[in-house]
Amino acid sequence: MKNGPVFFFGLLAAVGISWGGIVLGSHYQLGSLAPYYDDTQGNAFPLRPQGVASRGQLVYADLGCASCHTQQVRRPGFGADQARGWGERQSVARDYIFQAKPQLGVARLGPDLMNYGGRIEKEKGPAAADAIYQFLYAGSAAHPAYKFLFDDKAIDGQRSTKALAASPAGRQIVPSERAQTLVAYLLNSNTTYDYPEARPFTVAAKKEEAKK
């Protein structure tokens, strides 16, 4: 330890190796991951989200939704993710390649939202967007209301087509632009395509591969 330069370069090496190994290593492995082209469907997956849905992810991030919601389904058998209906398969790196800011999340004070859009559309059909707006506006016992994402104003002339169905008489509650992008993003969250790497690893599958 008497040698200053050796000490300094030792520290630099310690930090550099861990950064190189973990960050550059995973970047090398996943950084150029391409969409998966499926011949039978004639399309590549994941689908690129529309602009408004992409912007919604930034609203999701700046409100800190990730402090209570994850967006990662763990593999069947590891936790109750599948039993809770959050997704049939585990989330894989390819699911996130078009996301500007993947929100994997750190806590589950609320449900996982990886496939929230698909779930709520199955449940509510075309009324899904209204249902999310209503929930964001009113909140629940376990979820805060986000009233500041809405404008509560008097009906001036014609009622806005976007006003919530549950608006009080004579007034209209209109989602702000931020609320609209956020909801577009949430509706878009659905990972349906079954990538080869997402299939559960079984001994049978391995044998089949060996035969080929």
Partner: protein
């Protein structure tokens, strides 16, 4: 001051200490102010967990943002300022001459805290970056890295110009922390915020940064204080000191590799979690060395030593628990629950903050050459903060284990989970109240001590009992 005066303390307060008084008090004072602000925010977030409607209409303090504000004020406000004060003081002491270049530290402190304040307003108004441990918006981060480097200047000068050929463990840890934060902050913001890497690589890089900030920055700052203070309060040489350098390099080379435990089961390559288990297992050697070196803390006396004993116990416990939760079966129950929060609080509050409190308690009388203004407030802070941390950890563990059990059962709804953990969350709220009260006591006591320029300066001999010969006891 509870230390018993003896005749042997003539050299206890040296020009090294009093020369750096202003800059060090500025750092500690800013740190304590941020600690109190963070305490208020912690209280708000804890109440929100139990009553989601609390302050929900205020966009600035919606839960996600309040959480990011609490974390940022705690890490970059309290821990950074206080830790830098401890590191600079230790390096000045062991360098053997008064600190030079202190203007750099003052300017740096002002810039650091201004940038942090701007960043916090940024988080509140919607510029949050969204990465744990690095929530500050990108436009303040370059300024913060430079400001930190400026604050570090006196410490680095003291290290380069040290009088002794031999160096001590406290110095290694302090210098490492001074150099490393600007590096990791620059490397992380580059790949996360300026030239973002693609997809989940962002999550991996953010996890790397969070783990490096804990093991290569905060833990070394805390250990620098502990390695300096413990032999002095114990009045003994450190046992097994030959291993200290191995313990140091083990932490430096392996620390940042252990972050993968947060990503177990996630959409990332499996080798990341496997590396975390491997690194964590080998890192146990570091914790063993810290235990062997600093086990003399059990026989030490004085208020500072009591903080440090608590902090060291928590530190060793963190090492063991981090390894345990790196295993996939254990991670399954801990992930995404309050158990993970408990482990983080054990590290940041139980270990690092308590070690800082101990070091601050030890150094403030030495740089001001007067005892703490009120021994009652000092003891009150220690008792309250110790109880507060224990209550916090117990409550978080109770909430977390209930939550883990219920999450595994797909039939239980989230509304029901919130209801079932209501009681432990009440414990969390009361713990944060206790901690806030405790830290207010410390702030008042500190301000009285630091600002009492009019009071008579006491002869150092009556303040301290440590023989000056122990200055270099690390050998």
């Amino acid at each position: 001051m509870t230390n018993v005066p003896t005749h042997a303390a003539s050299a206890e307060v040296t020009p090294t200490d009093t020369h750096a008084r202003g800059p060090l008090l500025l750092l500690i004072g800013s740190g304590l102010l941020w600690l109190v602000i963070s305490g208020v925010l912690a209280l708000i977030t804890a109440i929100q967990l139990r009553t989601p409607g609390f302050m929900a209409d205020c966009a600035w303090l919606t839960h996600g943002r309040a959480q990011a504000l609490r974390e940022s004020t705690f890490i970059y406000g309290w821990l950074a300022n206080a830790g830098l004060a401890v590191a600079l003081w230790v390096l000045g002491r062991l360098g053997g001459s008064p600190l030079r270049g202190l203007n750099w530290a003052v300017i740096g402190t002002l810039f650091w805290n201004t940038a942090l304040a701007v960043g916090l307003v940024g988080i509140a108004t919607g510029d949050m970056s969204g990465f744990a441990f690095l929530q500050l918006p990108r436009y303040v981060l370059p300024a913060m890295a430079i400001a930190y480097a400026a604050i570090a200047v006196p410490g680095v000068l003291a290290w380069i110009g040290r009088r002794n050929d031999t160096t001590f463990a406290a110095q290694w840890y302090a210098v490492a922390a001074l150099f490393i934060l600007p590096w990791i902050l620059a490397a992380a913001q580059l790949v996360l915020l300026w030239l973002p890497v693609r997809g989940v690589v962002q999550a991996i890089a953010a996890t790397w940064y969070a783990q490096a900030a804990w093991t290569l920055w905060l833990a070394p700052l805390a250990l620098a204080g502990a390695y300096f203070v413990v032999p002095k309060t114990a009045g003994k040489l450190m046992p097994n000191y030959d291993f200290a350098s191995l313990g140091f390099w083990t932490l430096m080379f392996l620390g940042a590799w252990t972050g993968g435990r947060h990503l177990i089961g996630g959409p990332v390559p499996a080798w990341i979690a496997t590396m975390a288990v491997m690194a964590g297992s080998m890192l146990i050697f570091h914790y063993l060395v810290v235990f062997l070196n600093l086990r003399i803390a059990t026989g030490s006396s004085g208020e500072a030593a009591k903080y440090i004993r608590f902090g060291l116990l928590a530190y060793i416990l963190v090492g063991v628990l981090e390894l345990y939760t790196s295993f996939r079966s254990a991670a399954l129950g801990v992930q995404f629950t309050f158990l993970a929060v408990a482990l983080e609080q054990l590290a940041l509050y139980g270990a690092v903050s308590m070690l800082f409190f101990g070091a601050i308690h030890f150094l403030v009388p030495r740089i001001t050459s007067r005892p703490w203004a009120s021994a009652g407030l000092a003891a009150g802070h220690r008792v309250l903060v110790s109880i507060g941390i224990v209550v916090l950890l117990v409550a978080l563990c109770a909430a977390g284990s209930t939550q883990a059990g219920l999450l595994a059962d797909a039939k239980v709804s989230f509304g029901e989970i919130t209801q079932r953990i209501g009681l432990p969350l009440l414990g969390v709220i009361s713990a944060y109240l206790l901690l806030l009260a405790a830290n207010l006591l410390l702030l008042v006591n500190f301000l009285q001590t630091a600002l009492a320029f009019s009071g008579p300066s006491v002869q150092p001999q009556t303040l301290f009992r440590q023989p000056a010969a122990l200055e270099g006891s690390a050998t």
